[in-house]
Symmetry: C2
Subunit: 282 residues, 2 copies
Amino acid sequence: MSGLGIIAGGGELPIAIAECAQDSGKRVFVVGLKGIADPTISRFAHVWVPLGQAGTMARVFRQNGCNEVLLAGKVSRPKWSDISFDAKALTKLPKVMAAATKGDDALLRSFVDIIEGEGFRAVGVAEAAPGLLAPAGALGKLNPSAAQMADIELAAKAVNALGALDIGQAAIVCDGLVLAVEAAEGTDGTIARIAELPEHLRGTAGKPRGVLYKGRKPIQDGKTDLPVIGSETVRKAASVSLAGIAVEAGGALIVGRQKVAEAADRAGLFLYGYSAPAPMSR
Amino acid sequence: MSGLGIIAGGGELPIAIAECAQDSGKRVFVVGLKGIADPTISRFAHVWVPLGQAGTMARVFRQNGCNEVLLAGKVSRPKWSDISFDAKALTKLPKVMAAATKGDDALLRSFVDIIEGEGFRAVGVAEAAPGLLAPAGALGKLNPSAAQMADIELAAKAVNALGALDIGQAAIVCDGLVLAVEAAEGTDGTIARIAELPEHLRGTAGKPRGVLYKGRKPIQDGKTDLPVIGSETVRKAASVSLAGIAVEAGGALIVGRQKVAEAADRAGLFLYGYSAPAPMSR
């Protein structure tokens, strides 16, 4: 039986992947990144390893029969001087640091290369836990209106344009106007600043308007950080009176889809899996 | 002698244009948008007219011998219900409102169309006040390093990608990472949120890093709002410890170039007119 090794960054995603893979009959072993991964990874067979100890990670995955390795969860761009590197990591470091100057996705891809150089097969979430991928269409009770669909389309175009430059995965559009696009501040920061815009440009309490869209960067190969939403995303979107959330169908991940859809229904937001028209699809 | 009519929105730009045009021997008449334009437009022949009174504007320009009209200065996207429209404006309103759903530049272009429909020639700043256009090269004492030039290039690419979708005119890049891209929050908001990013991603007091770039949207024809910087931009960039500011040479405007360059020198920032390599130039 093949074993799946998960290098767990922050947030719920690594846990959701481990659960999903285990449910499908896979043996799972988790390397929790010290100080970064959620303590609840301890529900699975695991060890804690500091970021930078690549040799240790490779060793424990081998000892635990993992032939496939996946990296998941939030790892914000590290401060190099805070990391203690082992010998294995040090030999790869120049390559990683060079990649780091080219954007987050390049940085993550360099980790994938290292994993593969160690004889593991790097797998993406779509393969390890396909149940987390957003399906197409309305995922809750509400559907986007035609105008909201147009906003989703524009947001998807913005994310594609940004993502081609490895910038961000999220955009917020309201009535044809792009209110915010994500860069280094992350999706939470992008959502939060909607509240600072003039009221007539955005939704207000009792009068929700605008849509958050999350989708892959065109340069992503599915082995690195896919866009993710969860219940917290719904809560934040509702707090700035957005009308709904759309994600790239087959490209973005939803952690706890049933709960997220219920949260969207309760908050009065639509939740939609968007498939770009043919010329934009990959 | 031809007369130049200026519809003045907020900020120093309309005043700088009026000065520059007057210095070059043009007769200037200013329509100050009520509640929006800076009171110092009163230094020029002027009247105050509320936004939405297009008929009045056309009449006063005609009465004052203006054959050319230019729109300049900040006019944030209006709340329609706050505007009182005259008959002339009302006949054009459906077109303007349709344009408004397509982004700021489309909105401004619809005003230009109206001006031209009234028999005036719509002129751009580049024609009316060429002295305000940023020249190429170092504009202060400091020069960007090779790494900073690479950051400027990436920021210019981001602005081009965003601008093609009528999103924003500014991006901030530090060591190959795009820290922030501008949408509805404007350049000031884009600069301000750099301070909220983790310190190792950005400059800090005494250790400036990162560059702000402003450039035209590829869809702009020069008759609508060109990107602008001034002394205030330098102050804000310095307050978040950026290392420098670059603007599109021949495409962005600098209000008070000498003063801005001196402010940059004092703050230890480079100020650079960037010309994109051939495939990106227009």
